[in-house]
Symmetry: D2
Subunit: 318 residues, 4 copies
């Protein structure tokens, strides 16, 4: 790993680091930027009563290739129609006509999801300076996802960079710049405000949806944000950022020797909540049609204690 | 099982049956009562910017005793702080400073949850007349929970029956009547409207929260709605109903020989979506304080294909 | 599917069908051929005190590609070294120095395994005429693997067909014939006897071991037994047959329109227990070296109730 | 914790410590005592051809109460009889008549099982001096159970202490002494030899089998070996020891402040493999009937890589 890479990363990391900003015990990071007033204002954006669910289906055919401990959800039944009581005697014994029960096994980051602030370490530490040793096999003693249980609702803004650039999808490896973000916002006639939940459409997911085949979605290179947009997000006081690709940031990365430098800058240093694998197709189409790119975004995490991620089905309400 | 019980159940079931009402292919049932206009109106209720998360924590200590195929979530790590690269050589090999990944195994109805319309059968059929045989070990071919993916947002109304009756919790076995519901609404000065998502507080959960011990929450008798409230919900065109107890309805049941008669009437016949194990404490306290018992409720299901339930973390926004 | 295929399959199936042979309640099939006397005789084959474990490792890199509901085992920790009490106060609180606990999620047929007689259906029935409807989401009410709990020990015979034919591995698609089996036995100077547990080496696994890459082991075509060897196994009164390939039988199959015709003939009709993914390398090498191809085989199933397969680690003792 | 307790424990631990005895890289401990000659001799004990399976069933009703990360196995289906192709067209599309597949989720120590030498730590170390830090969320880098893959077969000896003392079951809390073990062996006219796999029957399991209810089997106090038998096992060069109780050793423990002192002495210090929850009823009855208390014991672990335990179904062959 070139020493220059480490220096570049460190400089950026320290520049946007928010440790201590919300006190030594904070575990929320930039979600603190969301205010009640902003939530109330965002709710007034719901004028048409439309709901756009942004979660991809949880099923065996999904975005995970099974490498790096991420596999698609496994879902089966405890009881099904074949188990139901059929004769009167069986109905009587069962005290009813029967029903079904099911269960699931899944990585918490296998579908549309939020990363917790315990997901990435930097030099042995998490956001706000907590030691990485606090994440053991029994889970994360700090920065776990359940701390955000009532926190992820607010004004959502969709920046459809692919559409702005006139393509179905940005090229794999394309790093979205600050200029791209600002130009897209201008074109959409929307202002990015402090506390916003920012959605960025790269078009990466569209490729796989178009061919109705998720395979390699996670392994292929993809377009995503440049590591250098971290400064802009820091300055703009973004509360969270989510993308339709696998990792928000561009792959391959722009900093040799680091696979996910934006993750390293954003999560443990800035304390920025990242969202991945967001389904933005229908929402983007609707925003393009009515020219309204801001909305109420309600994206509750499952409050899994000591967890480092959560599957979600965010609702954009317009 | 007394023949009278079956007759009673059947009479009620047929009276509220909504099969065909929204066409022969419908899989949403009473969620069809929610209109865009109602969603937009409900959003205007968000004036203070408060968020109340209604999901209980997902952890080993939870509401399930492990009987009847329901156990509490099992959560462990694939990678934790102990696995992280530590030396420069390790960091280089790992292309970064490391991170954490986790996973979960859980019944889809083990915590705060929505039942799908495939959850309960009546005489070999599901809501809208679909055969119970369509629910096999590979899941529900009809009425699965992912069909509701973008559908569960709207006006929420909390009827705090326990508080109205001046108790911390209704007695186990107490069957909440139509009169109770109407009297509570009157006292709260709130109107129940078509398409509402109705939350009913029995106080059952408060008992276990008070003693900080979930054990027997699912096994003990509990207060809940009378099976005869089904007619009222049908007439009022309620979209969904949820409770702070284990099964919405009262236990033991009012109809000898049937363990869950309200489930049988509501789910396969009326097509009513039921929500269970809702955490209503903080919301109830706030509503009592400001006298506003209606709010925007956003409760997205995880879109698990072919599933018969989903864990949720509903947000009530005021 | 050509009608001729069905006729061919049916003719063979009926010819070897053992229904009723061991009574109407039998759930063991050909395992009934193993006698105490045979077990005692087989034990006398253990003269060198050598143990050959025939199970492949249970790990993420394994023989399953993840299709058709078979994935490689997922194994993680509940407690690890990082969770251990470290200070005297922690040791005292924990009443000790700590330890580790782990768990696994796996298909029961994902590694070296026995199929139960409930694994394959023929025209709606299982072995001995039990209805396929007895296998519901709550498992197999008949022919489950735990019925064999104390039954799978006896004389093992290895027929190394690949070695006999002078190749590292038979070609994918090669169907091992009765002549091949008999010629191999003659060359090995071993007699196949009633009640034997027959191991057949095709060399298929060797290909993947040689390249240290399991991928496509289950998806590629492979050498295996011809469906027509079923008659010979029936006549010889084989108790069970196992192979180093994925399905005992050859792929693609010799009967157009049927993916696994040998399975259909052997399991539901003959009641023959099949073993798959057996690691035979070291055992084969040793047998070739000392010229002794018979041994004591002890291959206990995990007694999972209502299960249709079991992971195993069979021991061949010589 | 009394300082005296620590001293007592340490003295015993160091006295039986086998670190380095089989080289600095050893991961087998006392299993090294098993020799090929002993295996061959033990096989000659199989004269009647009887097989006694010693594994308890894997099912929801089992020995685990769900505390301390141990729950009973969870088993469901991927495919069952209800999913099978039924019409000729379905059979053709499926290329066959269908079948069943299932899967399991379980702690590796939830049923009859072997502990690996990575299961217990002593002052931050495992057997042979390996650091406890080598057991991370990705499993045990040393002393994992797969290292024993071909090692657990040999002469088994059953010491039925309960029977010798004339009781159905020893009292909970009764600590089996060296005298008890020797007196039982004398009464059984059996010699304990180096390399033996020692089975000790306390009768604890009989209590729960008698009442057909496993509940509290793991939580109640139970009879078991005294921590001071460790010296005797060390001197006798026992290869492994297993019991019909939950933890081999007596509960409550004899050393104040330590929950499992025998575990601490035996596993990380002596390198002794422990087996728990062994079903010894039928074997004990047979041994009492024919007066032969020694046999061939074949108890293969599942070779789960990096694992710290394994479910087993040991066979005692006589």
């Amino acid at each position: 790993m070139p020493a220059m890479s480490e220096d570049t990363l460190r400089k950026l990391a320290l520049e946007v680091r928010n440790w201590g900003k919300w006190g030594p015990d904070d575990e929320l990071g930039t979600l603190n930027y969301i205010t009640p007033a902003a939530i109330a204002r965002a709710s007034r954006l719901v004028t048409a009563g439309k709901v756009f669910p942004l979660g991809v289906p949880l099923q065996r055919e999904g975005p995970q290739s099974g490498t790096r401990a991420r596999f698609n959800p496994i879902h089966t039944m405890f009881r099904d129609g074949g188990d139901r009581p059929k004769t009167p005697a069986e109905v009587e014994a069962a005290e009813g006509y029967g029903g079904s029960d099911d269960w699931i096994v899944m990585p918490l980051q296998c579908v549309t999801q939020w990363d917790s602030l315990a997901h990435i370490f930097y030099e042995g530490q998490m956001y706000n300076g907590y030691s990485a040793d606090l994440v053991t096999s029994s889970g994360a003693a700090k920065n776990s996802i359940d701390k955000t249980s009532g926190k992820i609702a607010g004004r959502g803004v969709l920046l459809d960079v692919a559409r702005h650039k006139g393509v179905r999808a940005l090229e794999p490896g394309y790093a979205i710049t600050v200029d791209d973000l600002e130009a897209t916002a201008r074109a959409e006639n929307v202002q990015v405000e402090p506390g916003d939940l920012l959605l960025i459409r790269t078009g990466h997911m569209s490729r796989y949806l178009d061919k109705k085949d998720w395979r390699h979605y996670d392994l292929d290179n993809f377009p995503g944000v440049s590591v250098y947009t971290a400064r802009w997000m820091h300055a703009r006081q973004i509360a969270a950022v989510a993308c339709d690709n696998y990792a928000v940031e561009v792959r391959p990365s722009e900093i040799a020797g680091f696979r996910n430098p934006f993750h390293v800058v954003a999560i443990p240093n800035m304390g920025l909540t990242l969202g991945e694998i967001f389904y933005l197709e229908d929402l983007a189409t609707d925003c393009a049609a009515d020219g309204r790119w801001a909305f109420l975004l309600v994206a509750p995490p499952l409050p899994v204690t000591r967890a480092v991620g959560t599957p979600i089905n965010p609702y954009a309400l317009k």
